[in-house]
Amino acid sequence: TPRAGGQCPACGGPTLELESQRELLLDLAKRSILDKLHLTQRPTLNRPVSRAALRTALQHLHGVPQGALLEDNREQECEIISFAETGLSTINQTRLDFHFSSDRTAGDREVQQASLMFFVQLPSNTTWTLKVRVLVLGPHNTNLTLATQYLLEVDASGWHQLPLGPEAQAACSQGHLTLELVLEGQVAQSSVILGGAAHRPFVAARVRVGGKHQIHRR
C-alpha cells in the first residue's frame, strides 16, 4: 500500500506504509533464503530426528573455516548429515539406507567427501572384522549390486568413522546410498551395530551445489 505523497528516499519511488513495508521485507527475506537453498517451499518434516541423534551428529560436524566461502554465488558448499534408516537386518548383518535431499535438482550437486559414522558395542578385549559393502542400483534401476567394499578391524566399543570412496559419493550425489555392514568370521549374540536414538548411524557429506554446469565468461 503506497503512502500518499511519500517518496522512498533510497530510490525515489513511492513509499510504503510501515506495515506493508514490514510484510514486504519479511516476504523478501523468506524468498531469498528459499532461493539460495534451491527450495521451492519450506521443507515439511516427515521423519523427525531425536534430540539425542541431533546432538551426537552435530558433535561430529565440522564447521566451514571462516573465509573459505566461494566467490561465485552459483557454487555453494554445504555439509549434510543423513541419518540411516535400517532395513533387512540380522544379528550379523545390518543394512543402512540413506536418503539425501530430494529438494535439490538431481545432477546439480556433487558430493565431494563422505564419511560413515556408526557406533559399535563389542565384548571387552575382542577384535572383530567388519565388512562394509556399498550397494548401488544397477543399470536398469532394479536390483542393488555391489559397487565396492571395505574391511575394518574394530577393537573397541564406541563411534567409528569410515571415509567413503567415489562409488559411495556418486550414490550420495544421486540421492540414495545403501550400505551393508557384515560381521566376518564371528557370530554375535546380539547386533554389534547400535541404532538407538543416540547411536543412530549417519553419513556426513560435504556437498557442492550448482558447480557442475558452470558457464565461464570469456
Binding site: A10, L26, A29, S32, I33, L54, N73, S82, S101, D103
Partner: protein, 116 residues
C-alpha cells in the same frame, strides 16, 4: 557505513531482524534463531554521494564528484543508497528428508550501506 538513528535522512543502514519463530520457521531451521537481514535507506545527494567512505566504491566517488561538478542534467542519473558490505548467513536446518544441512549463504546480511 552509518547506522540509521532517529531522524537521519542520509544514506544509512536500517537494522531489520527476521525472527524464525515469528514466521513459523523454527521447526526446520535449527540455528540461528533469526536472520539479521538489514537494509539501506536514505538520501544520496551528489555532494554526499561523492564523499569517500559514503560512496559505494572509488569509481562511484569519482563519478559522483564529476556529476556534482557538472551542470545538472548533463550527466543524468541519481545516486541510490545501496549495500556496500555484506556477509554470509550460516544456517543449520532440516531438509525434506530430515537430513541436517549446514550451509553458508553468501551476501545475505547487509553490513554497511553507501551511495551508488
Amino acid at each position: 557505513g552509518i547506522d540509521c538513528q532517529g531522524g537521519s535522512r542520509m544514506c544509512c543502514r536500517q537494522e531489520f531482524f527476521v525472527d524464525f519463530r515469528e514466521i513459523g520457521w523454527h521447526d526446520w531451521i535449527i540455528q540461528p534463531e533469526g536472520y539479521a537481514m538489514n537494509f539501506c535507506i536514505g538520501q544520496c545527494p551528489l555532494h554526499i554521494a561523492g564523499m569517500p567512505g559514503i560512496a559505494a566504491s572509488f569509481h562511484t566517488a569519482v563519478l559522483n564528484l564529476l556529476k556534482a561538478n557538472t551542470a545538472a542534467g548533463t550527466t543524468g542519473g541519481g545516486s541510490c543508497c545501496v549495500p556496500t558490505a555484506r556477509r554470509p548467513l550460516s544456517l543449520l536446518y532440516y531438509d525434506r528428508d530430515s537430513n541436517i544441512v549446514k550451509t553458508d549463504i553468501p551476501d545475505m546480511v547487509v553490513e554497511a550501506c553507501g551511495c551508488s
